[in-house]
């Protein structure tokens, strides 16, 4: 690992090389899950979903549907071999402690959210499947339901599930003594912050196809971030794990929405029942209705600081809405609780977080995984504090940032590089001269927000990843890894790492990915873990292969191994230009001598076991990425409309593998922030999704965004390959509060609920006008 201050010279690492998958995508060659030719006889699936958010199922009569033309199967809960499983959500280790949870394929006796699957249909055409689904006669006994997590926590609340309580989980963090801390505070700021449901809005809706292959293996090809769900599908079907195969082609986006099982179980059941291939692609409306959402939170923050601007105490209460089923709610809440302090050194901390079931759509993984929610709260608090203290937003933050060696609220001391100070200064400076208002109705403001976000999974999950790297006899290279490529360059990165180590051009490398039968499992594409985990696994495998090649070359050239480098398909010797060999000659020599020219490596992340404790203590994640967003906005005081004028994203990425990809994550993550801050809101009315399509659920268009200026710091102090840190989620964590802090600066009023819409802005402005009168 490089030390800080050393600038390494890499052949390809850190350069902005075109991605190999970009070519296929641009020329229209890439096949996503719905693009594969359906073999003759493929049936179309349709899922019948619950009409109610909360109801008992009195009876289901499928007889009429089954008799309809073209219908091959109509399945309900009774037809599922194991309708309920305890899912490890793609992990290999049973961590206990609520990290495993109920996965129910189809509703059984009760529905817990509108959109829950009630019956599955397979028919020859989609129209026939849709008609048959409508003909399934379900008698519901509607129940009152509960739609607010705070209400759901009350003792007499409607029971969403089968347990006595709607509590999914609760976590506490304690550090120091908050009462004593507040006693020392000269200034205290309190606020209640609310954030809404969010939709991932990947451009590619959920899609897949399942069939039984010629060896009788149940095969599912699906747009999924987790091919490891083959285990859950096998358990559901009552099949051995090695008789179920999941393949993930290139995905058209994931962002956490394809982290849980979406279509896989439905397809498996229908394909197994009908003995025909079955395909299913969600409509956009179905996607919004039926897949996981981002957790809404109610967050109460109380922050105390001395008049010198030193944070002394933080008191936080979090309530998250788990929706109809827990899924990853415990994990998300744990992230929030651990990162509730933000990237700040606070000596006295109390955080209580609780997650409750409601009859809203279930909530689960969504880019940021609990960190963006608390970031909105703590960065709003920081600006409020700064105002009260008479300090600039930047100055207050600078006086409190965590540094390497400082402890989080859990007591974990940060091990890797922490450059938040520099990211904040550079982000702020990059805003440049303030833009003048363009009319008398317009006000302009600017804001910053810093964030911290983990990369790598919870250490309790004992995470690991595998990759195979090998030479072919002609000198071309193969990488095999179960990586799921959701668009962030996950497969391209491991090719780039391999190219660096083995000294071959990237075009000489083929990456086989995303197949549980044929590629060593890399683990989930989630938790900003792919570069860290599969990157390190690939690095390990490539280095092993390199070692073998170098050792053999050393013999063949009769020079010390230390003088040998692999560059551009050649074995080169330092200080002797005459002595060189094509790598392929060495490869062939190895093959003849029985020396392995391939390696399968496993990389294990730091791991711990859950302790018996009332509190969350110690190291929870492998590491964190730190950064700052800055924004300048203009607000039309007559309509409340916000124009985003400038955006900066400054992050320490450790070491960028592909410069363009890393910048792309900063830029793309920032747009998620703008969406979260200003536009995106899945409105639910007693469990019914009101914003049902993309004309009412609004994400930013190109006309809503200015250019994003990415500023990449490279501390080389991360735990990923070459000192890299993960960036996919961190880049999306602090965008929203940067924009909303800018709005608050412009209009002089702070809005504490996302999204900060024109209506909310205008209402706040008018209320202030009234108050002044």
């Amino acid at each position: 690992m490089m030390g800080a201050g050393e600038t390494p010279e890499y052949k390809v690492i850190g350069r902005g090389v075109p991605r190999h998958d970009a070519r296929d995508k641009v020329f229209g060659q890439t096949k996503y899950a719905d693009d594969f030719v359906a073999p003759p006889g493929t049936l179309c699936a349709k899922v019948l979903r619950s009409k109610y958010a909360a109801a008992l199922i009195v009876s289901i009569d499928t007889s009429r549907a089954e008799a309809m033309p073209g219908v091959h199967a109509v399945l309900t809960a009774k037809d599922v071999p194991h309708n309920e499983t305890t899912s490890k959500f793609g992990q290999t280790h049973s961590a206990g402690g609520g990290f495993e949870g109920l996965y129910r394929v189809v509703a059984d006796g009760k529905v817990r959210y509108m959109g829950e699957a009630v019956a599955l249909v397979a028919a020859e055409t989609l129209a026939q499947a849709e008609e048959a689904a409508r003909a399934v006669e379900v008698v519901y006994d509607p129940q009152p339901g509960v739609f607010d997590p705070v209400e759901a926590l009350k003792p007499d609340a409607y029971r969403v599930g089968e347990e006595d309580s709607n509590v999914v989980c609760a976590y506490k963090v304690r550090k120091g003594d908050v009462e004593a801390g507040f006693a020392q505070a000269d200034v205290i700021v309190e606020g209640e912050y609310r954030v809404p449901f969010g939709d991932h809005t990947y451009l590619e809706p959920e899609s897949g196809m399942a069939w039984i292959d010629e060896d009788g293996v149940l095969t599912i090809r699906a747009s999924t971030q987790v091919i490891e769900h083959f285990r859950d599908v096998a358990d559901i079907m009552g099949l051995p794990h090695n008789r179920v195969r999941v393949i993930a082609p290139m995905l058209g986006g994931g962002f956490g929405g394809k982290e849980d099982i979406t279509v896989e179980a439905y397809l498996a059941l229908l394909a197994y029942k009908t003995k025909r291939p079955v395909r299913l692609t969600y409509t956009r409306e179905e996607s919004i209705l039926a897949h996981s959402k981002r957790h809404p939170y109610v967050m109460r923050y109380k922050t105390g600081a001395t008049k010198d601007g030193k944070l002394v105490a933080l008191d936080v209460d979090l309530v998250s809405d788990a929706g109809g089923y827990p899924f990853l709610s415990p994990w998300v809440l744990l992230y929030s609780v651990v990162m509730a302090t933000g990237p700040y050194n606070v000596p006295n901390v109390r955080v209580d977080g609780i997650s409750a079931l409601t009859n809203n759509t279930f909530t689960s993984a969504y880019r940021g995984f609990g960190a963006p929610q608390v970031c909105f709260a703590y960065e709003s608090q920081m600006d409020e504090l700064a105002k009260k203290l008479g300090l600039s937003p930047l100055e207050l933050r600078m006086r409190n940032y965590l540094h390497t060696g400082d402890e989080l609220g859990t007591g974990y001391a940060l091990e890797s590089a922490v450059l938040t100070d520099e990211t904040a200064q550079r982000a702020w400076d990059a805003l440049g001269e303030p833009t003048k208002p363009r009319s008398p109705d317009e006000v302009v403001g600017r804001g910053i927000a810093s964030g911290m976000q983990s990369y790598g999974r919870l250490v309790y999950l004992h995470d690991s990843s595998r990759a195979y790297v090998g030479f072919e006899l002609d000198g071309s290279v193969v990488v095999r890894s179960g990586v799921q490529d959701i668009g962030g360059g996950q497969t391209s990165s491991i090719a780039q790492i391999t190219a660096e180590i083995l000294g071959v051009p990237m075009d000489d490398i083929t990456v086989y990915f995303g197949d549980t039968a044929l590629t060593p499992l890399a683990g989930t594409t989630t938790a900003t873990r792919m570069l860290y985990m599969s990157g390190n696994a690939t690095l390990k495998a490539a280095r092993a292969v390199r070692e073998a090649i170098v050792a053999q070359a050393s013999e063949m050239l009769e020079v010390d191994a230390e003088r040998i480098d692999l560059v551009d398909r050649m074995v080169c010797v330092a200080g002797d230009e005459q002595k060189s060999l094509p790598i392929v000659d060495v490869v062939q020599a190895c093959a003849s001598l029985g020396v392995s020219i391939s390696n399968l490596a496993q990389f294990n992340a730091p791991s711990r076991d859950l302790e018996e404790s009332d509190y969350v203590i110690g190291q929870i994640h492998p590491d964190y990425t730190f950064g700052t967003h800055a924004a300048e906005v203009a607000v039309d005081t007559k309509t409340g409309k916000v124009t985003v004028l400038k955006l900066v994203a400054a992050f320490d990425v450790g070491q960028s593998i592909n410069k363009l990809s890393a910048e792309g994550q900063l830029e793309g993550g920032t747009v998620f922030g703008v969406g979260y801050g200003l536009l995106e809101d899945v409105k639910m009315d007693h469990g019914r999704t009101v914003t049902s399509a993309l004309d009412t659920y609004l994400v930013p268009t190109a006309a809503d965004m200015p250019d994003v200026l990415p500023i990449m710091l490279e501390s080389r102090g991360g735990k990923g390959p070459f000192g890299a840190k993960g960036i996919g989620e961190p880049a999306s964590t602090s965008g929203a509060p940067a924009v909303t802090n800018a709005v608050a600066d412009a209009i002089g009023v702070r809005l504490k609920e996302l999204p900060v819409t024109p209506e909310r802005i205008l209402t706040a402005l008018r209320e202030r006008e009234e108050a002044i009168r």
Binding site: P18, L251, G253, N658, S661
Partner: protein
């Protein structure tokens, strides 16, 4: 219902099939003609993933009935250029890192081609306006605008005009 025989010129090649009146062009292209580079992201004109050039004009193929395209020309990204003979937009998208998951890319490139036909030297703001019907969830649009700006500056050969 009447099934109608239609013929569409796709990327210069005549293709015919039988369609129902209420079938949309995107569905017919994808499922009946195998033109899978045209994507379906929302089915109602809100995302632009289904963009094609219809007689040279960028439109949402999900908002066009297949019967309305009978006798007309459809151009997809494959009609703009290929790996052997790429369109400057395609080259620029690859080189600028303007492609991440790629699902919006086919449509985005066609919308850009249509823009450059009408406005050979657009400002960055005009580019953003020109692609405002094409959602991208991955890139944040900045590198897409970079790529289109560069392609505009490259000489566009005559035969590229769709």
């Amino acid at each position: 219902m009447d099934m109608q025989e239609i013929e569409i010129q796709v990327n210069g090649r005549p293709m015919s099939t039988t369609v129902a009146v209420d079938e949309t062009l995107v569905d017919v292209l994808r499922y009946k003609l195998g033109i899978i580079e045209v994507k379906n992201g929302c089915g109602q004109g809100d995302c632009g993933a289904c963009t094609v050039l219809l007689d040279g004009e960028a439109v949402n193929s999900c908002l066009t009935l297949a019967v309305q395209a009978d006798g007309h020309r459809v151009t997809t990204t494959k009609g703009l250029g290929t790996a052997e003979d790429p369109h400057p937009l395609q080259t620029a998208f690859i080189e600028h890192g303007a492609v991440q998951c790629g699902f919006c890319s086919s449509g985005m490139i066609l919308a850009a081609a249509s823009l450059l036909q009408q406005n050979a030297a657009p400002t960055r703001e005009e580019i953003r306006e020109g692609i405002s019907g094409n959602l991208c969830r991955c890139t944040g649009y900045t590198k897409i605008v970079d790529a289109i700006e560069e392609a505009a500056q490259a000489r566009l050969p005559e035969e590229r005009s769709a």
